[in-house]
């Protein structure tokens, strides 16, 4: 017994070192697996409020860019107004009215919530945004997040007033996207090489792809609305001879360096869809 105590005393520094290492590594690896919400809750509030103070300074210098982004988005929305489309003939043509004003609540599938970006990282391999809108304001994990120019990412974690969003520039984040022209679906992910490109994988070679084609978020990801949100444009087509699929280099339309306002998209019918999908999966087990 005496020897045990002597051993502990002699190597106390080393044992303390091991203890701290194990604590740190367990934080790291457990977080990666289960994304523990409890870990970030209090700390998320504190770092969020500090981030917010700093972003106020940066924000002022970016007003110009933000204005441009919002004007561009406004223009895009104006182009899509129903009033812009009119065929000859007038009242005789049949118009399918999809908006039932009196019972709009029941069929509204996507709820958009605005949020301000208060913190962001771009230089690491796992990049995040912090937004100033949290659980008390209706944000839940796994909701989709889009910016004025296109999709941004997905909510990973929420505290009371802040939420962390992992962006396309995060090596652990994947999202289903499709080609705007052909509709072929693939997965968008980042290989960590350059922050100006993400990869669109699993597009069959039968698809017609051209440089400059648009890639949009697919509604099958069930985070983003049916309204086609841009992911980016194809910059380069990597033709891998050994596989039947293309890997496309896509330039993200969102500029992650200066995105200041984002929309959190809630899919109100997601629970029902998930329940159905889960029960279907169970039937096969």
């Amino acid at each position: 017994m005496r020897n045990v105590f002597l051993f502990i005393r002699k190597y106390s520094n080393f044992l303390f070192f091991l203890l701290l290492q194990i604590t740190a590594l367990s934080f790291l690896f457990r977080y990666n697996k289960y994304h523990e919400a409890a870990f970030m809750n209090v700390a998320g509030e504190i770092t969020g409020s500090i981030n917010q103070r700093f972003s106020k300074v940066e924000y002022y210098f970016r007003l110009n860019k933000i204005n441009e982004q919002l004007a561009a988005e406004n223009l895009q929305l104006h182009q899509m107004l129903k009033d812009n489309y009119e065929s000859a003939g007038g009242p005789n043509t049949l118009v399918n009215d999809t908006i039932r004003t009196d019972s709009g609540r029941e069929i509204k599938k996507y709820v958009w919530m605005g949020a301000k970006v208060v913190g962001s990282t771009v230089s690491s391999q796992v990049n995040f945004l912090t937004i100033h809108r949290g659980a008390l304001q209706g944000v839940r994990p796994n909701m989709g997040v889009a910016g004025p120019q296109g999709i941004v990412g997905q909510v990973l974690n929420v505290s009371d007033n802040y939420a962390s969003v992992w962006t396309l520039l995060n090596r652990q984040f994947k999202v289903v996207a499709k080609l705007k022209n052909g509709g072929e679906r693939g997965t968008v992910e980042w290989d960590g090489v350059s922050p100006s490109y993400v990869l669109l994988k699993d597009i069959p070679k039968s698809a017609k792809v051209k440089k400059g084609d648009s890639v949009v978020a697919s509604p099958t990801s069930s985070m983003f609305s049916g309204f086609p949100l841009m992911v980016g444009t194809i910059e380069e087509i990597v033709d891998d001879k050994s596989s039947n699929f293309y890997t496309l280099k896509v330039k993200p339309s969102t500029n992650f360096y200066n995105v200041e306002y984002v929309y959190v998209i809630e899919n109100t019918q997601l629970t029902e869809q998930k329940r159905l999908e889960d029960s279907t999966r169970k039937k096969f087990q």
Binding site: S12, N13, F14, F16, F17, L20, Q21, T23, A24, L25, S26, F27, L28, F29, Y31, N32, F39, M40, A43, G44, I46, T47, N51, F54, G119, T121, V122, S123, S124, Q125, V126, F128, S164, R171, Q172, G192, V193, S194, P195, Y257
Partner: protein, 177 residues
Amino acid sequence: MSELLKNILRFVLFIFVQVFILFKIPPLHRFITPYLYYLYILWLPFSMSRAGLMSLAFIFGLTLDYFMHTPGLHAAACVLIAYLRPFVVNMLISQEGADKNYLSPSITSMGWAPYFTYVFVLTLFHHGYLVFLEWMSFGSFLYFIGKVIATTGISMLLILLTELLFFRKEKFRTNTV
């Protein structure tokens, strides 16, 4: 200014510079991440006990981790260099009893060459361990080697600049008083 107050201010300042300046710089290349924050641990006084060094390094690393959403990553690397620091200092200290006569490791207390060897060795360990942990989740061996070398180069440059800009005059203290 008392040493304690100085170190508390440094704690805050290093975290802020790292999070709000260095991490905001658009990356030049995927291998290059400018790290400077761990200089805080290299600047801590000689007189701190090893357990104290390691606990402080753990808290310091974890603070950065909360900002970066990588709980434990930087903390683990900081604890490693805090553990290795006394060994390296003992090996490199040139003047007899410099760790008693001076307050903390610096160019004045250790001399140019030993001080930068000390910084270089610990930088290499810090980045090596940090990138190794990243590499375990993704990446290739080339990524590991390339990132360690490039990041070490950038960090050494940043530390050299910091040392020249904020030259720390160390008073020679005798313990005969």
